[in-house]
């Protein structure tokens, strides 16, 4: 058997297992997908796109994110410019409520249905929870948009409070595979992350649980991460590609190869056929304009529009125009993908 035939064998399997039966690929199968040669990539992207259309539909979910509290985080996630433990140029700053409401209005005006309030903290204290509660009330009064939060690790009481305030989705990322996690974070454990994810789901909020790839993990660990996320069954997976930040331990890591990034998109879609798979940070660097388009035709069905928390994204109009060109409708408010 030639290498080429073997490579396509995993796509034949995926067609039967994922497209026809809706069963995500297992970890070992995902290694095969991540190892596909470049000439098999167009077929792989096409299959992932078909899986997305069949199991998620043609809509694309658009979201804006904003940082309510930037910088000064006590944790040491090695990729993060907001850790207070590294010599990063990012200074601590709080966004006031009028600015937050303005950002929510601007986000809604793009057609986005999701607005995520993010804080650089280990977990929220009373001051932050009060600020978030106030922000949610003010945004609700003035803007028609779903509100999500990402405030680090939560206690059960905080989970219940957020659910009670109508936060419909909570973001808490796994970031990387369990086997690679200790090389990236030492101030908290994988288990602590999983505990918050479990509480969020149990409280009835949608779980948004993301990945950050290109940090030096092996293909096997990338597959491990996709399988671990699939086991959590999150509503949404934001897929980030490392953007090496000055002053962080990963500042000299190379930007991920575009084709590897596309293989990862295919693998994540084939691991999780029904999950919202969102383009998040770093795609501009890893994929550029052409790759962004290929990913949207290769399994991605959601985007973060405009800027990220500390870095800039493509202009909102570039992504929105691309969706029009690709004939992909933007998901409407109150409709679930």
């Amino acid at each position: 058997m030639t290498i080429h035939a073997t490579d396509h064998a995993i796509l034949d399997t995926a067609r039967r297992q994922v497209l026809d039966q809706g069963i995500g690929l297992a970890e070992e199968q995902l290694v095969d997908v991540l190892s596909l040669p470049d000439d098999a990539l167009p077929a792989a992207l096409d299959l992932a796109h078909q899986v997305r259309l069949k199991h998620c539909g043609e809509d694309v979910e658009v979201e804006g994110i904003v940082s309510i509290k930037t910088g000064g985080c006590p944790e040491d996630c090695h990729f993060c410019s907001q850790s207070g433990l590294f010599d990063s140029p990012v200074r601590g700053v709080w966004l006031d409520i009028p600015e937050l409401v303005k950002a929510a209005k601007e986000t809604a005006a793009t057609g986005a249905t999701e607005f995520c309030i993010v804080a650089a903290v280990r977990g929220p204290d009373i001051k932050l929870m009060n600020q978030v509660r106030f922000a949610i009330n003010r945004i609700r009064q003035e803007v028609d948009i779903n509100i999500a939060c990402s405030l680090g690790m939560l206690t059960q009481e905080q989970v219940d409070q957020l659910a009670g305030w109508g936060v419909h989705r909570y973001n808490h990322n796994l970031e990387t595979a369990r086997s690679f996690f200790p090389q990236v974070v030492t101030t908290h454990t994988y288990e602590e992350r999983l505990a918050t994810c479990a509480m969020v789901k149990d409280a009835g909020m949608e779980l948004c649980c993301g990945a950050l790839i290109g940090m030096g993990e092996t293909l096997g660990q990338r597959a491990e991460l996709a399988a671990q996320l699939a086991a959590l069954d999150p509503h949404e997976v934001p897929l980030n590609f490392l953007n090496p930040r000055p002053g962080t331990p990963l500042e000299h890591q190379e930007i991920m190869d575009g084709k590897d990034a596309l293989r990862a998109i295919v693998a994540f879609r084939l691991a999780m056929p029904r999950t919202v798979l969102r383009y998040a940070g770093g795609r501009e660097l890893a994929l550029g304009d052409l790759g962004t388009r290929e990913g949207l035709l290769g399994g991605i069905n959601a985007v973060i529009v405009g800027n990220y928390l500390t870095t800039l994204g493509r202009p909102a109009t570039a992504d929105l125009n691309l969706l029009v060109e690709l004939n992909m409708p933007i998901k409407e408010l109150q409709k679930t993908l």
Binding site: G64, I65, V66, S67, T70, P89, V90, R91, V93, L95, E99, K102, A103, E106, T107, T110, A112, N243, P246, E284, L285, G288, D289, L290, V305, G306, N307, Y308, L309, T310, T311, L312, G313, R314, P315, A316, A318
Partner: protein, 90 residues
């Protein structure tokens, strides 16, 4: 090819580099004028910084080199120097 965000790149031009905070020595080779204080083009040492500023807001004041307080929002950013005041996304 990548969609350009060159508007943000203005942060690199001045006496200090908006990306790394290092001094921008005025230079004449390649388009800048020695008497413009380095505002017309970045010095060669900061070309990579200028390219980085396509995808991030400035982090240092181009007038004094102080670290800026920067707030990024989905459709803009605002950077404030304690001495020279705010700058917003172009």
């Amino acid at each position: 090819m990548t969609t350009s965000r060159t508007g943000a790149a203005r942060g690199a031009r001045g006496t200090y580099c908006g990306h790394c905070g290092g001094p921008c020595v005025p230079w004449t080779d390649g388009g800048g004028n020695a008497d413009d204080g380095g505002t017309a083009a970045p010095s060669p040492a900061h070309r990579q910084c200028l390219s980085s500023l396509q995808w991030e807001p400035p982090r240092f004041c181009v007038q004094c080199g102080r670290r800026l307080k920067v707030q990024v929002t989905p459709l803009g950013w605002r950077a404030e120097c304690s001495r020279h005041g705010p700058t917003t996304a172009p």
